[in-house]
């Protein structure tokens, strides 16, 4: 199913071009990541998808419909950036209202509110006012409202920013568990997190879509990433050059090497590499088949 289709999509704020002629087609399925530096246009793209703002040029369709149209109500949900709940009402009261707006009646609306609060571990805070919540709890409450009903697409803008590690992990687990029923589009700076969650990564820079990486067909056949404990990296690099099938070795950071190899010649390369490390009595921290998302995007 067609999730998103943008053609010549641009958004201008005064003199600043936040999105510049973006052409993009996405299908529903595994979670999709949206990355890019600050001011790259990520939040603008999400806001356009939600119909919060209108494009300056081009057109955009979400699930085949105009963003913000009545046909998308109940199908598209989001954790918007810089949006706060009503300070006058408890989480339960507000989420129950949202559930009623989705067609849940009376007690069913309250139960739905409690269900989504339970998903983000906030049942105990159900009767708290938003101002009584920490930043992280507020963010989890905002994620909870996005899960009311049965959305097909959920856009999450920085879902784990500001969360403690345990709750960040809980949110990642929640996204993984729900990914079979919901397509998530996640904007984040946490590449490690996106690598764990997402099947596709879109890279926006200066308002342009500069890269699209498919993590399901990643370059695991041609790369190995080796992260070492402290050792003589130059000497190790020389020794690794002697392994069969190695084409190139690229340092990435202080103790990490990216090995490019020929798949046919280097079929046993990982085993040979581990044997080499064992012989040399060198300690490694991590061996990855393929490259990290960070290396794929920036190397």
């Amino acid at each position: 199913m067609n999730l998103l289709r943008c053609h010549g999509l641009s958004k201008r704020y005064g003199n600043k071009l936040a999105l510049d002629n973006v052409d993009l087609t996405l299908e529903t399925g595994s979670p999709i990541a949206l990355v890019g530096p600050n001011g790259a246009g990520k939040t603008t793209l999400l806001s356009l998808m939600l119909g919060f703002i209108k494009p300056s040029a081009g057109d955009i369709k979400v699930l085949g419909k105009q963003p913000g149209s009545a046909a998308l109500l109940g199908k598209v949900a989001a954790l918007p950036q810089d949006a706060a709940l009503d300070p006058d009402f408890s989480l339960l009261t507000q989420l129950a209202l949202y559930a009623r707006l989705h067609g849940f009646n009376g007690k069913a609306a309250e139960n739905e509110a409690l269900r989504v609060l339970a998903l983000v571990g906030l049942v105990d805070a159900a009767r708290s006012l938003p101002k009584a919540l920490s930043h992280g709890m507020g963010k989890r409450a905002a994620i909870a409202q996005a899960l009311i009903g049965a959305p097909k697409l959920v856009l999450l803008d920085e879902p784990t920013a500001g969360l403690d590690p345990v709750n960040a992990r809980n949110i990642r687990d929640l996204v993984s568990n729900l990914a079979a029923d919901i397509t998530f589009l996640i904007s984040s700076h946490n590449l490690e997190e996106l690598e764990k969650l997402c099947g596709k990564v879109l890279y926006l820079d200066h308002g342009k879509l500069s890269q699209a990486v498919d993590l399901t067909t990643q370059d695991s056949q041609t790369y190995l990433t080796l992260q070492m404990q402290s050792c003589d990296m130059a000497a190790l690099q020389t020794q690794l050059q002697g392994l069969p099938g190695i084409e190139a070795i690229q340092p990435s950071g202080k103790h990490t090497l990216i090995l490019k190899y020929q798949p046919v010649l280097g079929e046993q390369l990982d085993i040979q590499l581990l044997q080499l490390l064992h012989q040399q009595q060198l300690q490694y921290r991590m061996l990855i088949k393929g490259r990290t998302l960070e290396d794929q995007l920036f190397s």
Partner: protein, 279 residues
């Protein structure tokens, strides 16, 4: 997913009702709303205890009635002809006071929520039209409640003085409430518009003060210099208010088309603003 999640999203009318009732809940069940209600009640208690009670006593004094009859003034003659003097004073006061309350109350329809991003959350769960009309309807429900409470208190005051007036008091009270509600429609609709363009509730109130002040200064000048632009007077809510004092509340219904048309115009403008504007 949802335990009893719906296949289709409910219609706009369902959501307008939900949002309107939520606004009523804000007044009746939240500390801030209850505080506003208490302030309003105390203020009206003062009005009832002093201006309304005293004026009603004066109006029922035969010598004062003779004096009023001697003065050739349509408004005075009409007010003195009311069977329930308390309601006559209430009518005269409410026609001017309620619009002021309305401006302060309805200024908060959208401005703060838009600035805070709360409208973004709401529009993820309901359409912008439902949000706009839901908030407007909620504001009208709140004002209807306040009208009913104050009219009932005025009737109670009249009953203490003269219990036999109950029948006519209730009939007049109905027409007063209905007419005041109609008078408040365009004020509320105008505040819906101003609340959408303002960045805070206070700014929306300032815009309203500017709107009425500038209208009061400019429109007579324009009317004098360019009579063709005289129709602009009809854009100002409450332009019929002075005339309402000179007629009975039942007859005042004949002035209803103007505020209703003004409301439709302001609501149409507000709807376009919320549909086309960024959130």
């Amino acid at each position: 997913m949802g335990l009893t999640s719906k296949k289709t999203h409910p219609g706009s009318w369902h959501n307008i009702r939900q949002l309107a009732l939520f606004e009523l809940q804000r007044l009746l069940l939240q500390r801030r709303g209850l505080l506003a209600l208490l302030t309003f009640a105390l203020l009206w208690l003062l009005f009832l205890a002093y201006p309304i009670k005293s004026a009603a006593e004066l109006m029922t004094d035969p010598s004062m009635r003779d004096l009023a009859a001697a003065i050739d003034n349509k408004i005075l003659a009409q007010l003195f002809s009311w069977p329930v003097a308390e309601l006559a004073v209430y009518w005269a006061i409410s026609l001017y006071l309620f619009p002021m309350f309305c401006i302060m109350l309805a200024a908060g329809q959208f401005a703060a929520d838009k600035q805070r991003g709360t409208l973004r959350f709401l529009t993820l769960h309901c359409g912008r039209e439902a949000l706009f009309f839901g908030r407007f309807l909620g504001m009208m429900l709140i004002q209807l409640l306040l009208l009913i409470l104050t009219v009932a208190a005025t009737i109670a005051l009249a009953m203490i003085r003269e219990p036999s007036l109950s029948g006519v008091a209730i009939t007049d009270a109905f027409w007063i409430t209905l007419n005041l509600l109609i008078v408040l429609l365009p004020y509320t609709a105008l505040m819906s518009v101003l609340s959408l363009v303002a960045t805070s509730n206070r700014q929306a109130t300032i815009y309203a003060v500017l709107f009425f002040t500038v209208s009061a200064i400019l429109l007579p000048l324009l009317d004098y210099a360019l009579p063709l632009l005289g129709f602009l007077n009809y854009l100002v809510p409450g332009m019929q208010t002075d005339g309402l004092l000179a007629i009975s509340p039942k007859a005042a219904l004949s002035s209803a088309p103007l505020p209703i048309i003004q409301s439709i115009a302001y609501l149409a403008l507000g709807l376009q603003l919320i549909k086309r504007g960024d959130l």
